[in-house]
């Protein structure tokens, strides 16, 4: 983040007065001569990710957001919960007032501030609403964030707080979301009230908020809350719509980019790709997947020019310092006033000069600035320094920067040590400058002591085989393989069946109405005709050896063993349809699963002509105690099929029996269309599930109508069970690649939000429904995303190195006990099979993550952790001596 001057009000620019900012800026960064310039960039692909605008509820007079002090938006509530927010993370009423009001009226008002006892969330504000606004779509994220906000508010306030969420359908179809929702009810006692509140009034004295609503039993309820949070939706602003028009890409009614299910990140204009909420309303992991996928799509068409514009920085020859007496240079950073404002940096610098082996100490205003870095290079050369200590902020963000500076001056980057006198000192002891200065000195002394023992460390080059293995030939795997092959890499698809396509083979249409079979055939055709792709049908995986860049597997293809060497793998093993044991499935051929009905559509079966009354039952096998997740695809699938039945024969009576309709995003429009076509939606609860009676002639479904509260009997000649998608729970595959499965058997990705298409194990990636159930377009997106992540690995082919701070074994001292081998979570140590030290353990530097578990557990003291060796930690403890 950088500041810039607003030329429309700057006195210096307008009247040539003031100029204060130039005077006070410590780094001379102010340049009044800069003006707006127009840049022209020649690009081969464009990724358009303009994001969204939170819906502004001011225009709703019934919720009085603009006038009532205790009505806030969900975005504002996020800030209220945040430790860095306006209330320091403390939930109070009147949050819009300043924490310490200055105006008299505000001060009087602030006296009414209290810790709320009751907070209500109103869902679908600015979403699923064509009455008070034009947003017919579902914003997809609000249910989950409301549940999260309520849970966090309860965690802050404890039992004193009552949280209620007013909703229409609870839409938590994301990975692990359903469990979170159930937990919010059972463990946190959050109330979920199925009702849309009409309006809010304010008590003029207490500023409490009164609401009236109709509950699920049709009763009018009056209640009072201290605070109301409006769960506002996501909206595409007019500027974005206009810009989209200008660059010639088609948008939907809701303002979202039009994309197809098989190219879900590519717009109607060739070469322009799209990511994020502008593509469709979505949460963080899906946005990350979109971004990855857009990068893959943009790269596909540019692979032939890859690396043509790359500039390689000149490498400075490394100076050998082994055996030299340490000559330590200490750099103390002021961080502007962040450190200097509390710590006496001058005194710390003087103190540093007095420490053993310190040849030079220097104070700089911003050690990380470019000129300070250049100076550091000069001093290293001029003073012939061979170890560097920087006392500044945190090494977690700044160590790589300083290490690069060391490399630029010819020093090995591991001759660097950093100590944290800002985050761990000046910021947390700002009221005790003397103590903070003393602590800074101690920290510098400890760092200097450690630095004196630093040795140059080598990073080993990892040889990377750029052949890729994709396990699974479904939509996700095919999409990943296609992108990888288009970018020039040899890709092997391993499919256990004798045909490509996976579960998509059984699907009739996508939510957007595309024919799955036609599109799938095109995709398969493009895969099998690509010279870079080798398809292995009827093939199983028997073993996996090796690690990132160097995997080796034995496969059985058509009964014959084959060997495959590859550098990375994509696991795209998918999920399968659950075969129901409930609702009479299997006892009558009029009862089928959603895929069974799709099969009838695909073959245009005559059976369909006879259907006069069709019933769908949702959540069959999903959202149940032994399968506590939502299968994500079934609501839309049933609605789609209901519409298909209605369109084939408008006279057909169609009923969908559901728990919550989870038609997220613009799928909501399908839900609306189905209702308009006369599809009847009846909600059932888990303690009163529909009952299916199979008799010779008739198929009767009994259900309690949720509006009337009366039992209904529906005679049907078609009953579709929207059965769950269940993971393959391939424990052998998970063990082969050392990747985890969750309780339900889905693969666990590296990071739920930020690493959704890769595993924590380097070189192994995930996509498709094996990760979590997902519709076709999302499977393609994740397929592309995994390819994109994999490509970032392959792009480093010539510059992939291990870390220097890893464990090494002193073979002479190793007693071959094997503790390191059994304790290492990354399988890095192993016994040597041959040579002088056969039988002794050795550590594979590529697999070692440098955690030090083996070092601490080695009974012989034979293992050393470079950079954090025992003597380096002990010397810091000994350096404490003067402190303690």
């Amino acid at each position: 983040m950088k500041y810039c001057i607003d030329p429309s009000i700057c006195l210096k620019l307008l009247k040539d007065k003031c100029g204060t900012c130039e005077e006070v800026c410590p780094t001379n960064a102010i340049d009044y001569s800069q003006t707006e310039t127009e840049l022209t960039i020649q690009a081969g692909s464009v990724i358009f990710a303009p994001g969204f605008k939170p819906f502004d509820p001011s225009r709703f007079d019934n919720y009085q957001y603009a006038n009532y002090a205790n009505v806030v938006t969900s975005m504002e509530f996020e800030r209220i919960l945040s430790a860095t927010g306006p209330t320091g993370g403390h939930v109070t009423t009147l949050p819009k007032l300043p924490a310490k009001p200055k105006k008299k009226a505000d001060k009087l008002l602030a006296e009414k501030r209290k810790d709320p006892k009751k907070i209500a969330w109103f869902q679908c504000v600015g979403s699923r609403d064509i009455n008070k606004c034009d947003n017919a779509y579902c914003s997809s994220v609000c249910c989950m964030y409301a549940v999260k906000e309520a849970v966090i508010a309860k965690e802050h306030a404890g039992d004193d707080l009552e949280c209620s969420i007013f909703f229409m359908d609870m839409r938590t179809p994301g990975k692990e979301f359903e469990k979170y929702y159930e937990n919010a009810k059972s463990s946190y006692g959050i109330n979920f009230i199925r009702s849309r509140v009409h309006s809010v009034t304010e008590d003029p004295d207490s500023l409490d908020l009164n609401i009236n609503y109709v509950d699920e039993f049709g009763q009018m309820v009056s209640d009072t809350y201290d605070m109301i949070v409006l769960s506002i939706g996501l909206e595409i602003p007019d500027e974005t719509r206009e810009f989209a028009k200008k660059i010639g890409i088609d948008i939907s009614e809701g303002g979202f980019a039009k994309t197809s299910s098989f190219e879900p990140v590519s717009t109607s204009r060739d070469g322009i790709h799209v990511a994020g909420v502008f593509n469709s309303p979505k949460d963080i992991p899906e946005s990350v997947l979109d971004a990855n996928a857009a990068a893959s799509a943009a790269g596909d068409s540019l692979s032939h020019v890859r690396d043509t514009l790359t500039q390689v920085p000149e490498k400075v020859e490394e100076i050998n310092v082994v055996g030299e007496r340490p000559r330590i240079g200490v750099f103390i950073c002021d961080c502007g006033s962040n450190i200097k404002g509390v710590v006496d940096c001058e005194a710390v610098t003087e103190y540093a000069k007095s420490l053993p082996y310190v040849d030079f100490a220097y104070e700089s205003m911003f050690a990380c600035s470019q000129d300070a870095q250049d100076k550091m290079v000069e001093y290293i050369k001029e003073k012939n320094l061979n170890r560097i200590v920087v006392a500044a902020c945190t090494p977690k963000t700044h160590e790589p920067l300083f290490q690069e500076t060391l490399s630029n001056s010819g020093l090995n980057k591991y001759l660097f040590e950093m100590t944290n006198i800002r985050n761990h000192n000046s910021w947390v002891h700002k009221n005790n400058p003397d103590i903070a200065t003393q602590k800074a000195k101690d920290l510098v002394r400890m760092a200097v002591a450690k630095s004196a023992l630093a040795e140059p460390l080598a990073e080993e080059k990892i040889n990377l085989n750029d052949t890729i293995m994709v396990v699974g030939g479904g939509i996700a795997g095919l999409s990943a393989a296609k992108s990888l092959a288009m970018q020039g890499y040899e890709t092997h698809i391993i499919e256990k069946k004798d045909i490509l396509g996976g579960e998509a083979r059984k699907i009739y249409k996508t939510a957007q109405g595309e024919s799955v079979q036609d599109e799938l055939d095109k995709l398969i055709d493009s895969v099998i005709t690509n010279d870079n792709i080798k398809v292995h049908l009827n093939t199983t995986l028997d073993s996996v050896d090796g690690f990132v860049g160097n995997f080796r597997s034995t496969l059985t293809e058509n009964g014959q063993p084959i060997e495959l060497e590859y550098g990375a793998a994509v696991l795209a093993t998918g999920a399968k349809g659950y075969e129901p044991t409930e609702y009479g499935y299997g006892s009558d051929d009029r009862i089928m699963t959603s895929l069974g009905l799709d099969a009838l559509f695909v073959e245009s079966s005559e059976k369909l002509d006879a259907v006069k009354s069709a019933v769908f039952i949702q959540c069959v096998g999903s959202r149940e105690p032994d399968r506590p997740y939502c299968s994500r695809v079934c609501c839309t699938h049933s609605i789609d099929n209901a519409i298909e039945l209605k369109e084939r024969n408008p006279e057909t009576d169609v009923y969908i029996l559901y728990r919550d309709i989870r038609a997220y995003g613009e799928r909501e429009l399908l839900y609306k269309k189905a209702r308009e076509l006369g599809v009847i939606f009846i909600r059932y609860s888990t303690d009163d599930k529909p009952v299916v009676q199979v008799e010779k002639e008739t198929l009767t479904i009994k259900v309690t109508d949720h509006v009337l509260g009366k039992p209904l009997e529906i005679e049907a000649d078609l009953l579709t069970l929207a059965s769950a998608l269940i993971p393959r729970r391939d424990e052998q595959l998970a063990n082969f690649f050392k990747v985890p499965l969750n309780d339900e058997g889905f693969f666990v990705e590296k990071h739920a939000k930020l690493g959704p298409a890769e595993f924590a194990t380097d070189g192994v990636y995930v996509c498709g429904s094996g990760h979590y159930p997902k519709p076709l377009n999302e499977a393609v997106t994740q397929g592309r995303a995994s390819a994109s992540r994999l490509l970032t690995l392959l792009a480093k082919k010539d510059s992939l190195f291990t870390s220097g701070t890893i464990a090494t074994i002193d073979f002479e001292n190793c007693c071959s006990c094997g503790v390191c081998i059994s304790i290492c979570p990354y399988s890095a140590p192993d016994f040597q099979n041959e040579g002088r030290f056969a039988g002794k353990a050795d550590i594979n530097p590529v697999l070692c993550k440098g955690c030090g578990l083996c070092v601490a557990s080695c009974r012989s003291g034979a293992i050393h952790l470079r950079g954090f060796d025992t003597n380096q930690i002990l010397t810091q403890i000994f350096a404490l001596d003067e402190v303690v």
Binding site: H424, W427, V428, A856, G867
Partner: protein, 66 residues
Amino acid sequence: MSENNVKIVSFLCNWCSYGAADLAGVSRLEYPADIRVIRIPCSGRMSPKFILSALREGADAVWVSG
């Protein structure tokens, strides 16, 4: 160290607790200045001899967090 003269040596895991201590700073929390942090790559690196050494050097408490 500070007036009450408590001496705490803390070993913080680089990936979690060290980052948390960074965050405490970013959040401008305040705490007594009696601790000295030694960054370790993982709490798995922790060895009993570090704890014993710290106590022998006169620490009142050793805090391992990871």
